[in-house]
């Protein structure tokens, strides 16, 4: 009898331990799989930023929605002449070409000039393709709509390459210093994000690079000067 009781106790404890262990492992797996990109795990500050971003995106989308609705209504109007239809299609094409980079554009924005330089203690501070690439990325982050480097227009498929860290090619075209990077967008926002402490222009200047930035009401950026062709992808 005494022995039987002991066995029961042992078995009970054994089962309890087993159950606990299972729960622990499940828990571990859960913590491991927690998606750090989901909003359930954001903190207050992140939530605020996310909300502000979403509101802005929503406003832009809403504007686009209204615009597209109008376009559609124009199409749907009865008894439209061939001429009117042509105009609507042409408007659509004009917008596509604008977004592609196939048109000369102008608008407010900034011009950034970067020069190779030899510092006082004989160190060379060379502008590399990486610097230009990062700068372009920061300009896009700050909302730039059109960008060019030495009048080579940056489009969706543009690359900034280097050969032996000495030659820089944009759109497979060789460019030489000084490098003039132009961007069209909200000029105040573009300038302030780049020159603020920790902004990329500020960072480069602190490292001793010869970089200057100027904002203006009228920046002119030329069109992409080659054909943009599609060879491998097709619409789904």
């Amino acid at each position: 009898m005494k022995k039987k009781g002991k066995i029961t106790v042992t078995i009970t404890i054994g089962i309890a331990v087993l159950a606990l262990s299972t729960v622990m492992f499940m828990q571990f797996k859960l913590v491991n799989e927690t998606d750090i990109t989901s909003i359930e795990n954001m903190r207050e500050e992140e939530l605020r930023t996310e909300l502000a971003n979403l509101k802005e995106q929503y406003d832009v989308a809403n504007e686009q929605y209204e615009q597209q609705k109008q376009t559609l209504e124009q199409y749907q109007q009865q008894e439209k002449s061939d001429e009117e239809t042509s105009k609507l299609v042409q408007d659509e094409l004009d917008n596509v070409n604008l977004l592609l980079g196939k048109t000369n554009v102008e608008g407010e924005g900034v011009t950034i000039t970067l020069r190779d330089k030899e510092s006082e203690d004989g160190e060379f501070l060379i502008i590399t393709s990486d610097i230009l690439n990062i700068l372009v990325n920061y300009l896009k982050l700050a909302g730039a709509e059109a960008i060019s480097i030495n009048d080579e227009r940056i489009i969706n498929t543009s690359d900034i390459a280097t050969i032996n860290e000495t030659l820089i090619l944009v759109n497979q075209q060789r460019i030489i210093g000084p490098y003039v990077v132009k961007a069209i967008g909200d000029k105040t926002y573009l300038e302030s994000t780049l020159v603020a402490r920790g902004g990329y222009v500020d960072t480069l200047q602190r490292q001793g690079y010869d970089v200057s930035i100027e904002s203006s009401d009228k920046v002119e950026i030329p069109q992409y000067n080659k054909d943009i062709t599609v060879k491998y992808m097709q619409q789904n």
Partner: protein, 238 residues
């Protein structure tokens, strides 16, 4: 007697292990989610969710409108053959801009943080992928002729930027985390040139022990950009 001892020891060890596990667990939970779920925070969370839904809905509406407009253009071009050329330019343009789903041959590159034990290196930061790594890989893909690129299904458009935000990376304002799956459409033989010795991928793999994989494929599908691209400041001049 020995049996009793054995049982006690086994139980003791088990209890010890469990206690340790619980302690670790409590600590890691403290690190990640014990941010107090204040009233304000849950309000904010609800608001974010609400806006997310509204945003997704309106994107869907815009998509429907665009489809309808395209149908109208198709009809119009059937009646007027002069417009055929314009129509095909619009279609091709939208593929490059990134506002349509596309497919074709290409490569899929998968990048993940290094598996090296962080305590064995001088700077554990070197074991993580950064926005600059992704940016460089994307730039090389464009250099080898990529026509369309996506990162974790976020299509890269002309206004896309890649921005570091701690353990995650922001692309098109969307948060994505490692592993990163970069898809590119183009000639697979050219795109796979990224694997050349001394290239960026090779460096990531050899110098920093990142997990790098490149696969060629004949059928890659890249989804359209999930947002809206409009220019407010840049205007076409003749």
């Amino acid at each position: 007697m020995t049996n009793k001892k054995l049982i006690s020891i086994v139980l003791g060890v088990m209890c010890f292990a469990l206690t340790v596990a619980i302690c670790i667990q409590v600590r890691s939970v403290q690190n990640s989610t014990t941010v107090s779920q204040s009233y304000e925070e849950s309000n904010l969370r609800a608001e974010v969710l609400r806006y997310q839904e509204r945003y997704e809905n309106i994107l869907k509406d815009i998509e429907d409108l665009n489809d309808e407009i395209n149908k109208q253009i198709d009809e119009a071009t059937q009646e007027n053959s002069n417009l055929e050329d314009a129509q095909s330019q619009i279609k091709e343009g939208n593929m490059i801009i990134g506002t349509t789903d596309v497919s074709g041959p290409g490569v899929i590159i998968t990048l993940d943080d290094s598996t090296t034990d962080p305590t064995t290196v001088f700077n554990p930061n070197d074991l993580l992928l950064h926005d600059l790594d992704i940016l460089s890989v994307v730039n090389e893909l464009k250099n080898t002729g990529a026509e369309a690129i996506s990162i974790n299904d976020q299509r890269l458009v002309t206004t896309s930027s890649i921005q570091c935000g701690g353990a995650i990376i922001n692309i098109n304002g969307q948060r994505v985390g490692a592993p990163f799956e970069i898809k590119a459409i183009g000639l697979p033989e050219n795109l796979s040139n990224l694997e050349r010795p001394g290239g960026y991928l090779d460096d990531l793999r050899e110098k920093y022990q990142m997990q790098v994989k490149l696969e060629k494929s004949n059928n890659i599908t890249i989804p359209r950009y999930s947002g809206v691209i409009t220019f407010e400041h840049a205007k076409t001049v003749e």
